[in-house]
Each structure stands twice: as C-alpha cells, then as structure tokens.
C-alpha cells in the first residue's frame, strides 16, 4: 500500500484523477446546458436592453423596452386582461372537473372499471395538441362546423317553442340577425369564450390520474372514521376529500398558472390574437414582435416581464397555498 502511495504521490493523486474523471463525464451535459439554456437566459436579459433586428445593428436603449411595454403599448392592458381571464378560467376548470370525475371513478366498486375509465380518459393524449386545436377550429367553431350545424337544427324560425313563449320573431332577429349561428372565433363577442372552451368538458386524463392518485392516498382509517361519523356523499367530498388532495390541487394549480401565463400556441393556431386584439395575450404579442415585426429587444423585454410574473406567482403559491402535509403539520 505504501509503495503505491509513493508512486502516486504528487499532483496526480488517485483522488484527483477520480475527480477529473467525474468532471470529464459532466462536461458534455453541463456544457450543453450552459450553451442552450444559460446563454439564452442571459441573452434574454441583456437583449431586452437593446433595440435590434435579427442580423441587423443593435442599439443600446436602456430600460426603454420595459417602459414601452409597461406604460406605452396600447395592447398591454387588454392582453394582460385576456391573460388574467384565461388563467382564472383554466384554474377554475382544471381544479374542478377532473377532480369530480376522479372522485366518481374512485367511487366505483369494481377495480376493473376504475382502471378502464382511467385509461379511457388518457386516450385523447395521443392526439397531438396542435391537432386538437385544429379540430376545434376547423370542425367545431367553423362556419359550417359542428356547433353551427347543431344550432341550425334548432333554428328559432323553424322551432315554434320560443315563439309560443311570447317572443316575437322580430325580437329574436334583433338579438341575432342570422339565427343562432355565428363565426365563433371571428366574432369579437365570442372569440375569447370560444378559445377557452376548447377542450370542453376539460377532463384531461393527466389531471384525472393525479387526483385519483391523491384519492387513493387517503388513509383507510380516515375513510372509516368519516363513515362512522355519518360523513358521506357531498359532505365527505368537501370536508375530507378536498383537504386530503390539497397537494395534488396545489400541483395542478401551479402547472395551470404557469401554462396559461406563458402559453400562446393555442391562440396562435385558433385566432392569431384576433379579431383585433380580442384574444391577444402578452406571450403572443412577444411572438409577433419577434417573428413578425423583427423587434427582438422588445420581445426579450416582454419575455423577461412574463418570467418575473411566473416566478412571483409560483413563489406566492409555494408560500401561501398549503399542501396536505403542511395542513397536517399545523394541527
């Protein structure tokens, strides 16, 4: 042993050699990470201080891009309002519908059915997200699409029940001159609603699985105690199940907020922010500034603002929204 140590003494100790091997292995992953994530993140911050086109000259403008986005740009306020509405709506539906369905599935007695239903709700995941948006745009909201064709079946000029209720035909026509049908995505009155209703009834297999896992995690002792106390049905759902799946709700809440604050692919596909700026969100505005108007610096500034917003919301979420474990710890 001592002979070995004599040979290896000096700069290249076995320990050093070993560390070197670790660094060498980490070189590629960390190098890629630095180049393709840290460099763009840095550029986002530095780029936001310049005004430049792709491949063109850049000019230092300080915080002018931020100032423009926050105070001057007329699209900022409406797009932020749209984003707030979409986020609020998405949070509401993704915390409620899948949870209810998960609870319904969980209430079934046969394990076989429970498994089958969980799989069935997962199947739509195989359809690419783009295709889902395009199916809704091209088939459901389209002028000759499913929604309009369905409404044509119940056209009020054909069906007498509204007339029988005392509505005159002139009155009905004054509400809606062309019948019930409309261009759902191109009409400013309905565009935003139509956009958020894509995916109705909002029961994603992913959320169902997560909530279902939460429900199975409820200890049997709690369920038995609840039954003994006569706490069943809706009462049990609100007083026991919901507090017990708080961790899952928290997870979906964070994911939904992050997704809807930064997501704009669906809007790009469905409406391109139109009509006017009815369905524009800051992310989409960033996209247009970068890839249509060639204002890279301004786009970077919008991206940084959204990053700060997401970061703050996630932080607040962690800080104030208590998960089940924390609720139990407090007691």
């Amino acid at each position: 042993m001592s002979a070995d140590a004599n040979v290896e003494r000096g700069y290249f100790t076995p320990r050093f050699k070993f560390n070197l091997s670790c660094y060498l292995i980490l070189l590629l992953p960390v190098g890629m990470l630095t180049l393709f994530i840290y460099v763009p993140v840095m550029w986002a911050f530095t780029g936001s201080l310049f005004e430049f086109e792709i491949g063109g000259d850049s000019q230092f403008v300080g915080f002018a891009n931020y100032y423009e986005f926050l105070f001057l740009d007329p699209t900022t306020i409406p797009s932020l309002m749209n984003m707030l509405f979409i986020t609020f709506f998405m949070v509401c539906v993704r915390l409620s519908f899948p949870l209810v369905v998960a609870k319904l599935i969980y209430s079934l007695t046969k394990e076989k059915y429970r498994y089958v239903y969980r799989i069935v709700f997962l199947i739509p995941i195989v359809v690419p997200g783009v295709a889902v948006q395009l199916i809704w745009a091209g088939m459901i909201y389209n002028d000759r699409g499913m929604l309009n064709e369905f409404l044509r079946l119940f056209d009020f000029t054909e069906v007498g029940f509204l007339l029988a209720l005392g509505f005159t035909e002139e009155f009905l026509r004054s509400i809606s001159p062309s019948g019930w049908t409309m261009g759902w995505l191109s009409d400013p009155r309905t565009a935003l609603i139509a956009v958020v209703f894509v995916g109705f009834p909002f029961v994603g297999g992913f959320e169902v699985l997560i909530y279902y896992a939460g429900l199975t995690g409820i200890p049997e002792s709690v369920n038995e105690a609840a039954e003994l106390e006569g706490c069943t049905g809706l009462k049990k759902f609100f007083l026991i199940d919901i507090p017990m799946v708080m961790s899952q709700l928290k997870l979906i809440l964070i994911l939904t907020i992050i997704m809807s604050v930064q997501g704009f692919e669906n809007l790009l596909i469905l409406t391109r922010g139109g009509p006017g700026f009815e369905t524009t969100v800051p992310g989409l505005w960033m996209y247009f500034n970068a890839f249509s108007f060639q204002r890279m610096g301004y786009a970077c500034a919008i991206g940084v603002c959204l990053f700060i917003l997401i970061f703050t919301l996630t932080f607040l979420n962690f800080r104030y929204f208590k998960s089940t474990e924390e609720l139990e710890g407090k007691r």
Binding site: L26, M32, L209, K250
Partner: protein
Amino acid sequence: MRKNRVREIILHVIILTFTFMILVPFFFALNNSFRSNSEMYRSFFGFPAEISSAVSMGWAVLGGSEEQYVVYDWDQESEERVVGAREALHQHFMNFTRGYRLAWDTLREYMINTLIVVSATATGVVLMGSVTAYILSRYRFPGSRFFYYMIISTMMFPAVLTLVPSFMLVRELGLLNSYWAMLFPYIAGGQVFAMFIFKGFFDGLPEELFESARIDGAGHVQLYVNIVVPLSKPIISVVLIMNVFATWNNFLWPFVVNTEGEYHVLASGLYVMATSHFAQNFSTLFASYMVSSIPLLILFTYATKPFIQGVTSGAFKA
C-alpha cells in the same frame, strides 16, 4: 344492496357522459375524414355516403351484375362517369380514402422527421440524464452540489423567457433548418427533468452493490453498464415515454426554426397544412389529424403501465 346497484349505475352514466363529450370531436373528425366537403356541407352529422353506396355495389358485384353505374371522381373534381359495377366499386373506395391518400403524401415526410427527432432526443435525454444522475448521486467531489443545483435551477426558466434568445442562438450557430436546431435544445432541456427523476431513483440504490463492484476493479463504464442500467430499466422506460410525448407535442419550436419548411415535424407540419392550400380541404385535414395520432396510440397501448406510473409516481410533485 339495491340502493348500491342504483348508485353504481348512476356513476357509470355520469362518467360515460363525460367520456362521450370528450370523444365526440374526435369521432366527428374521424367520420368527416371519409367525406367530401360538399357532403359535409349538406349534412354535417351524416355518415360517409361512400360506405352505403359501396356496400350496395359490393352486393351487386357478388351477384355478378353487369349494370352501369354513375360515379363521381373526387380526384378529378366534377367528373361523372358511367362505368361497370367493379370499377365503380373501386372508384368508391378511392373516394372513400381520398383524404387519407392526400394526407399521407404530405405527412410522410413530417412523420419521418418526427421519428428521427423524437428517437434521437429520447436516446440523448436518457443517456445524458442517467449518466449525470449516476455521477451526482453516487459520488461527492468538489463542486458536485454546485453542479446539481446548476442543473436543477434551469427548471425555473419558463419557455417563454428563452424562446426568442434561443432562436437567436440557434441562428448564430447556423443550425436553422436542420435537425440539430431541434435536437440540441431538446436534449439540453430534457436531460434536466430526466436527471431529476434518475437521481431520485439512484439515490435509493444500495451503496454495497457499487462498493463491491469497485473493489473488483470496475470503472465508471462497467458500473454504469453492469449495475445502473439493468437495475433502472423500469425508470428508463418511464423517462423515455414522458420525453417522447413531450417532444411529439412540441409545436412552436419546430415551427419557428424551420424557416424554410424543410424539416417540419408532425406538430408544426399539421399547422402548416391547415394554413396552406389544404385549408378548405376538410377530409384531408381530418385524415391527417387521425394519421398523426396513430404512432402515439400504438406506443400508448404498448406502454400504458410505465406511462401511468410516470404520471403518478410523484415525479411531478411540486
């Protein structure tokens, strides 16, 4: 007992209603992928007319009928021909599959691109994620915690922050309009999540296994190949599937970096199709949506277990 039975049936009815509402759009997309535009305009909710006429004609052919039929050729647009039953049957079949034939002509290229990008990304992500996790999980060396936090903290940067500068970077590197424009950022980003999952798994492996192999003189490569990989097969399939689904659905990045449109993958290709000359050709569009769902459907049927495991394993616990 009776009460429970009723409750059970009501539960089934409610759940099936939800299932039905979710599947309706896909059903009508499938249905209308077999119908011409004019047929769809005439009655949206009807079934493909080609089926009923083909069935009656098939009976006629079986009966040895030599009657003449009038058929309409969708491919030639507005050409009506009077032909024998056998040829008419063939024409009906061609009409029936017209959407799929046209869709496949365009989709084939996108499909190949997608398969290349997805498989290369998944391989790279699993390799790099597991190797990094192995090093960071089994060894302590100066800076190991720094590297861990450096990798993990990239999870807080949302895609919206890096979209524009990543595009500038890829353009600076001259990678626009190539597979590399997708592969490098996908692998760099995907390895983080993979590393996170792998590290959680490797941390739980007993140190004695590694210790004894090391005494036998095994190096990094032997340890990784002979101990880490065989033990972590289930977790590898989980990471693989999650990564395939994520890459498959990525639409914006391929759309942005393929400025010349040569390397479109399915997701971006579908959008290009829907905004190009196919825009009003509904049977082709719907057919292309259906075709683009088939590979993942196959993967899903073969790998339901690891997929469910991946979603519920707590890997997503925030």
